[in-house]
């Protein structure tokens, strides 16, 4: 090892013959320090490429069932000026946010409890499996029939559907907690609050973020479905109306806005949080 260093520095000790590769032997390769993610422009070009493909498809199809991006954009502008777009999105966002926050809170608490307590996990794990596998639409119907077509029923249905997923992910996070770090905390007699802040939460954070990301997309979709099923406002409700009128332009206008909100949340909220919280990881530095 020292020999290699000396050789690299160009100061070989006397009487020492440096190693030489045989003719034609492949040169040693340096292992990359981080995976090659490809050029950044690929990510930036991704959505414009989708728009181009959409425009080309619309131009070829020449059908009112596949309006191009320009037509959809003008529809969005009209809806925004009328005020329905903002009102519908506000209603849907409020429901999704309430469902998301409640489901994350309850699911995290249950996941930690099941991960920490063997008997509780034995008793309730089958419930979680049942919860994971009941179709969301069935839960929505049951809640609407039992509680009426109310926001409370809608949010409850979202929470019931989402909690098992968060519980499962957080339970896995708790199971993966390092006993070594617990021992470190015990040895240095860390107070409970410091243990939670410096040892427990950082270990659970990747699982929490994964649950949040998976949960957010799930919550959005469920809220929309339940709004179609029974609601007097919101994106799902409006898309349901457009469906009855076979108005593809209106459906796509709402869908595009919906996608824009999701992308804003992903790149404006989730990724910055993830980047900050997980900045210590080897693959990010």
């Amino acid at each position: 090892m020292n020999r290699t260093r000396n050789s690299a520095a160009g100061a070989a000790p006397s009487g020492w013959t440096p190693f030489r590769l045989a003719e034609g032997a492949p040169a040693a390769r340096t292992l990359p320090t981080r995976p090659d993610l490809g050029p950044r422009w690929l990510e930036l070009a991704s959505l414009p490429l989708l728009l181009v493909l959409w425009q080309v498809s619309a131009a070829i199809a020449q059908s009112r069932f596949l309006p191009g991006p320009a037509l959809v954009a003008s529809e969005i502008w009209t809806l925004a000026r009328e005020g329905t777009l903002v009102g519908d999105f506000a209603a849907t966002l409020a429901r999704a946010l309430a469902g998301f926050v409640l489901a994350m809170g309850i699911g995290t608490a249950l996941g930690i409890a099941l991960g920490r307590t063997v008997w509780a996990d034995r008793l309730f794990a089958p419930w979680v499996v049942v919860g994971l596998n009941i179709p969301a639409i069935v839960v929505g119907m049951i809640c609407y029939i039992s509680l009426g077509l109310t926001d409370f029923a809608l949010i409850l249905a979202v929470v019931i559907n989402k909690v098992p997923l968060v519980t499962t992910m957080m339970r896995e996070g708790v199971r993966a907690l390092s006993a070594d770090h617990d021992e470190l905390a015990a040895t240095f007699r860390m107070p409970r609050a410091r243990y939670l802040r410096l040892i427990l939460v950082p270990q659970l954070m990747p699982y929490l973020l994964a649950a949040a990301r998976a949960g957010l997309s799930l919550v959005w979709k469920m809220v929309l479905v339940f709004e179609v099923l029974g609601s007097d406002g919101g994106v799902g409700f409006r898309v349901g109306l457009y469906f009855q009128l076979f108005d593809m332009q209106g459906i796509l206008a709402y869908t595009c806005c919906f996608v824009a909100v999701i992308l804003a949340l992903e790149y404006g909220v989730l990724r910055p949080i993830e980047g900050r919280v997980l900045r210590w990881r080897k693959d990010r530095t």
């Binding site: 070594d180 240095f188 950082p202 210590w280």
Partner: protein, 245 residues
């Protein structure tokens, strides 16, 4: 002039599994202040468990353990260096020190890092440090609590020989500079012969002290021949024979 013992260990019974054959029974040990004691013995004899008892983290035992006159669990937090560096990977080097000693000033952190040869590494993530540097940081963390008692659990395991020599020199300097009472676990009698004032050899189940030797000469200044001879003697006294070779 005569000082009382800094560490009093009297374990009547310790049975971590519960109801089985105890790990320790009737173990007695006294250590004066500033002494460096090496605990050696075969794997599984209970060396690490004994350190946990001394740190106050292990409580399933009967008897009496006092550090500086106080029960172990109530005594000031000891410095502890684990077998692995056991750093918190999501905290920078300085925050790893603050995790166990929240009141540390930036100046004190810089001083501790300088002491262990990590000057300027305050903001480094643990994964960016080499294995040897991580052990140094673990030592700085142990020192950050101003330990009266420093517990070292095989601090040189899984390191190459050159790194072990480097770290041993550093530890010896720390022993002289900070003068803590040290209990160092090792499976290698050579570590004891090089670094300790006293070696205690454990063996059997329940474990008992099969040798308690005050090592001649000053720690860190013994010749290679003396170290080899002492290590052989300790190995013969009950340490694992393969570790002495």
């Amino acid at each position: 002039m005569a000082q009382g013992p800094d560490l009093i260990l009297r374990i009547d019974r310790l049975d971590p599994g519960g109801g089985g054959r105890p790990l320790f029974q009737g173990l007695r040990l006294q250590v004066p202040p500033g002494q460096v004691v090496a605990l050696i013995g075969p794997s599984g004899v209970g060396k690490t468990t004994l350190l946990r008892v001394l740190s106050g983290a292990e409580r399933r035992w009967q008897g009496e353990v006092k550090v500086g006159g106080l029960p172990a669990a109530e005594a000031p937090v000891p410095g502890y260096v684990f077998q692995d560096a056991r750093l918190l990977p999501w905290l920078s080097a300085e925050d790893n020190l603050r995790a166990v000693a929240p009141g540390l000033s930036s100046d004190r952190i810089a001083e501790l890092l300088r002491e262990v040869g990590l000057s300027g590494q305050e903001t480094a993530w643990p994964h960016a440090l080499s294995g040897g540097m991580q052990r140094r940081l673990a030592l700085a963390r142990a020192l950050s609590v101003h330990p009266r008692l420093l517990l070292l659990d095989e601090p040189f395991v899984s390191l190459d020989r050159a790194m072990v020599r480097d770290l041993q020199t550093l530890f010896l300097k720390v022993f002289s500079d900070f003068e803590p009472t040290v209990v160092m676990v090792s499976h290698d009698p050579e570590d004891a012969a090089r670094m300790a004032d006293r070696a205690i050899v454990l063996n059997g189940r329940p474990a008992r002290i099969v040798a308690d030797v005050t090592l001649p000469g000053r720690r860190g200044l013994r010749s290679a021949q003396d170290i080899a001879r002492l290590a052989a003697d300790l190995a013969e006294a009950g340490a694992p024979a393969d570790a002495a070779t």
